[in-house]
Structures are given as C-alpha cells and as structure tokens.
C-alpha cells in the first residue's frame, strides 16, 4: 500500500476527521444506552443501603438518604458468609481451570483434527445442550449419591469439570484462526500437542478469556445444584446467601439486596480483569491483508 505521499496525507486526514465524528456519534449512543442497562444494577446497590421503609417506597430511591449499613451487618450476623465465599471461590476456580483445559483440548480435536465420527460426536454434544438442566438434575443427583460424592466438594465440582457450552464456544473460535501458522509449524515437524499449546492457545486468548468470564460467572451463580447436593452449612455457596432471604410469606429485601450486591463483586472483578484479554488484538494482526 504505497503510492504518492501527498495523496495518502490528504485522505488520511479526511479519514481521521470522519473517524472522530463516527466515534462521537457511537459514544453518545452508548451513553444513552448506558442508563437503561445499569439502572437495575444501581437500584440493587442503592437499595442494599436502604432501610425497609425506603425499599417499600412506591418510587425507588436511587440515592438513598440516609445511607445505612444495617443490611450488610444483618447478612454478616445471620449467615457464615465468609465460609460461603471460600467454598464458592474454591469450587468456581477449580471448575474454571478444569474447563479451560478439557474444553480447549476437545475443541482442538473438533476444530482441527480429522477423525471418523467427528460430526456425529459433535452433534451429540450439541444435542445434550438442549435438554434443560431442571430435568437432568435428579438423574445426576442419583449418580452423585451412587458415587457417595453428595455433601462434598467433589460433588459440587465434578459435574462441571466438562462443559459442552465451553467446548462449543472454543471450537467456534478455533475455526476462525487461520491455518497458516500451523501449516508452517507442521512442516517444521511440530506435533498436535505442540500446535495446540504453542499456536492455538496463544492465538485464542480472547476466546479463552471469554470462557473464563462465562464459566466463572456460571459456576459462581450456580444455585440449583449446590442446593440439592449439599446438606452441611459448612459447604454451602454464595447464591444460597441470596435465596436465604426469600421465604414463603416474607422476603427480606434489604438483606437480600446486600447479599446480592456482595455476591456480584467477585464476578465483576473477574470480568474487569479478563475483558482486557478479550479485546486484546491477537497476534495475527501482523498478517492477513495479503
């Protein structure tokens, strides 16, 4: 892309001006949308700092006055919240790491290897996604009890070490990675494991970061499975701190909002940390426009 310097200069400036204008329009639109997406989020945080009287108000107050911490104190007093966090952290981290490994390996096979029955097996994987978890819950619980893993960390973790969702996600992303690098590596005698670890995984960092975000979020928020598989209070997880306040006749909205706000913090932190990898221009920017 080299031609006479003056022409490039003129079009480049015009392009930059247009760019700024487009950026400004996009920015304004995004800011307008912002209000509608975060209003419920703001509402949750602000009502966690309100008294029952304020929450019961017909018109929500988005800036509580006066501010009160009593809901957080009540949650801390009534629930072993630190223990819940420890359990959730252990479970979610192990599940996330395990899924990164199992799903990326299987995705490599589905996206890059040629073997008999590949499409049939993949269709089988996809097919199981359709059956809702509400109906496999009880068969799975019976399996876990058969294995005597109920009321243990193993029971909380084992069913989620593998995820069809993550496998599918990574397979789709691997398919968008150009084969050029691998072809070169293969000529240099690289085997599949080397291609997987040295080429595919580094190139797939945005996708892997996405898997971390979504898997961590899903296992952190997982509610029904821990509820069913755990009896001991010492093994309960964070989502149960929110539902603890949803009783038959009365929902304690203040403590519920406080527990909900607290339960979101780790997910937000993981998201903020990971999103920079999601949007990291991947190594292949160097090539392409041939």
């Amino acid at each position: 892309m080299s031609s006479s310097g003056a022409v490039i200069h003129r079009t480049a400036r015009g392009r930059r001006l247009r760019h700024v204008a487009v950026d400004a329009v996009v920015y304004v639109l995004l800011l307008i949308g912002l209000l509608s997406v975060i209003l419920p989020f703001v509402y949750m945080v602000s009502s966690s700092l309100e008294t029952a009287v304020q929450i019961g108000s017909l018109t929500p107050q988005f800036v509580p006055s006066p501010l009160t911490w009593t809901n957080y104190q009540q949650v801390a007093r009534e629930l072993p919240i630190a223990r819940f966090y420890l359990n959730s952290a252990i479970v979610s981290i192990i599940i996330t790491v395990a899924q990164l490994l199992t799903a990326s390996m299987a995705a490599y096979a589905f996206a890059r290897l040629r073997f008999r029955g590949r499409s049939t097996l993949f269709a089988l994987y996809l097919g199981t996604l359709i059956i809702p978890s509400q109906v496999t819950l009880i068969p799975n619980y019976l399996i876990v009890r058969e294995l005597h893993w109920h009321d243990t960390y193993a029971g909380l973790i084992a069913p989620f070490v593998v995820s069809v969702f993550s496998t599918f996600l990574l397979r789709q992303f691997f398919l968008t990675i150009p084969t050029d690098y691998e072809d070169a590596a293969r000529i240099d005698g690289a085997n599949h494991w080397q291609i997987y670890t040295r080429i595919i995984l580094p190139l797939a960092r945005p996708a892997l970061a996405t898997v971390v975000i979504l898997t961590f979020l899903a296992s952190w928020n997982n509610f029904l499975w821990p509820l069913v598989v755990i009896d001991s209070p010492s093994l309960k997880t964070v989502p149960l701190s929110v539902t603890a306040y949803q009783d038959q006749f009365a929902i304690a909205w203040g403590p519920l909002m406080a527990a909900a706000t607290l339960s979101l913090l780790p997910v937000l932190i993981v998201y903020v940390l990971m999103q920079k990898y999601v949007v990291e221009g991947i190594a292949l920017s160097g090539q392409g426009g041939r």
Partner: protein, 318 residues
C-alpha cells in the same frame, strides 16, 4: 461503490482460498489417535455427568415415575398426554414467540454494542462493564426493579406514557396481551451483555490490516462490515444464535421471577421449562417432565437444523 468492487473480489478470492485449505484436508491420513487423546478428558466428564443423565431422561420419558415408587413402563403414553394438553401447546407457542423476538433483537444489539465498544475510546472499560451488568445482576433484584418499571399505577414506562398523553397505556404484566412483550423486553435487556462479550472476542480475529486495506480501497463503514467483519465473525455469530436460541427455548428463571412464580396472567408468560418444572417439582411426575424435555429437544433440534442448513449461506470458516 464502483471503485471498491475489484477489491471486494480480491478479498473474497483470498478468503475463499483460505477456506479451501480447511484443517487437515490436505492430509490423507486421519488423526484418530490424537483425537482420542485430546477428547478423552472432555468425553469422560461429558459421558458421566451429561450423557447418562440425558439418556436417563429419555428412558424416564417412556415411564410413569413419581420419584418414590419404581418407574413403570408406559410407552408413548406421556407424549400422547402432552399432545392432548392445550396448556402444552400454549407454552410451546409462548416460548417460540419469545425466542423469535429475543434472539434476533439481542444478537443484533449485542453486535452493535460490541462494534461500538471495540473502538479505543476513553471510558470503554467502564462501558464494557456496564453493558455486561444486566447479564450478571442477581435476577431477584433485577425482577423487583422491572416489576416497578412495568407497574401500571406508578411505573416508569406508563408514567412516561401518561405524560406523553397516552390515555390507556399497556398494563404490561397485568395483561395477557402485554405480559409477553414485557418479558421480551426484560429478556433482551439481560441478553445483550452476553452476546456483546462473545462478539467482542470474535471481533478480535478480524485482522486490522484487512480492514485498513479495505479503507484504503475506499470502502465505507457499512461495506467494510458487510465484506470483511461480518464474514470473519460469522462462526461467532452462529455460536451466539444457537446458544441464544437454546437459552430462549429453555427460558424459566426470568419468567419465574418477573411474574412472582406465577407465569401469569393465565399462563401468558408460561414457558416449556416452566411447564416442565411444574410437572417435575410440583406434581412429581418425572415421566411427563422428561417427555416435555424431549419434546423441547425435537423442537430445538428442528430449529438448529434449519440454522445449520441456513448457515451454509452466510457462515464462513477460516
């Protein structure tokens, strides 16, 4: 745009060339051994905790099982019961109309937001987090907020409509006609963050030099999107569409919390999984619940096949 036409052709040729070199296709031998090793860890977990349970529900769907007494064989009876239940067909219709509305809208909006946030603008980290927030906000608290937004006597939307002079604004959750649109708005609001984060990741595999080359060749933003970005992210789009379709067909939690567990009025917001949940956990009729799951399977399977057939026309793999 005339001047750009040759360049588009050039790009398409280059991509077609790449497409023809699909993985492994130049090799004669299969990768069977490697495939087994790469798949094994995933498959073991998949088999024990997914496939067994799924097969279990298939078997149960042909039986009567009340959880306590041993299942008794019924053959196709549960499926016949479903087919004869008007409520079943109503929830199928509800779920389908929810899906038909939410999937395209949330996918398109998610893509738009991702395109906007893929720029290097100040404050994008905050914006990216904000747009993801609906997807992670605890449902119970989000639902409380939306119940207020939709309230006919004091809610945000109807108060605004009154101000605009609308004398008879929708009753939203208090109307069998408007409850589903309310649920759809809630669903789109929640789903945007999910498709956005996937599209953001997908957009990273669009090589910038390719876009720059297109710009130099005089392509405007829409042309760049049509001829470069969209084809390059189409596997991501396919993923988003399939997962959102399955997710929408499995809608349960959101309808449950928004209607205080009632799926009302008069089942206007009841869904297939809501119906299934009632059978499984209230009636303890696991046979019919499992049959409902497999009816869902058949419906989604058909929808997926249509998508997969249609994808040949718009999805491009590297």
């Amino acid at each position: 745009m005339r001047p750009f036409a040759p360049s588009i052709e050039r790009l398409q040729v280059s991509m077609a060339r790449r497409r023809s070199s699909r993985p492994g296709e130049h090799r004669k031998r299969g990768d069977g051994r490697a495939a087994i090793l790469f798949l094994l860890p995933d498959f073991v977990g998949f088999f024990v905790f997914t496939l067994l349970g799924v097969i279990g529900t298939l078997v149960i769907s042909f039986t009567h099982w009340d959880l306590v007494r041993a299942p008794t064989w019924l053959g196709l009876e549960n499926y016949r019961t479903l087919a004869g239940d008007p409520l079943f067909w109503q929830v199928v219709k509800n779920t389908a109309s929810y899906t038909v509305a939410v999937v395209p809208i949330s996918t398109a909006l998610g893509l738009l937001v991702a395109l906007g946030l893929n720029r290097r603008l100040p404050g994008t980290v905050v914006l990216r987090t904000a747009y993801f927030a609906p997807f992670i906000t605890t449902l119970a608290s989000a639902a409380l907020m939306w119940q207020w937004i939709f309230d006919p006597n004091r809610g945000l939307i109807d108060s605004y409509l009154y101000m605009l002079g609308v004398s008879n604004p929708p009753a939203w959750l208090n109307s069998s006609v408007w409850a589903m649109p309310a649920l759809i708005i809630f669903g789109v609001w929640r789903q945007i963050g999910f498709s956005m984060v996937l599209f953001l990741a997908g957009l990273q595999s669009v090589p910038r030099p390719l876009l720059e080359a297109a710009t130099v060749d005089g392509a405007n933003a829409w042309q760049r999107f049509r001829s470069v970005t969209f084809p390059m992210i189409s596997p991501t789009t396919l993923f988003v569409v399939i997962i959102s379709t399955i997710g929408s067909f499995q809608l349960f939690d959101q309808a449950f919390v928004l209607t205080s567990g009632r799926f009302g009025p008069d089942n206007a917001t009841n869904t297939l999984v809501g119906y299934l949940y009632q059978k499984a956990f209230v009636d303890l009729n696991m046979g019919e619940a499992s049959a409902t799951a497999w009816a869902l399977f058949i419906i989604i399977f058909a929808a997926t096949i249509i998508q997969l057939v249609a994808q040949r026309r718009w999805v491009h793999y590297e």
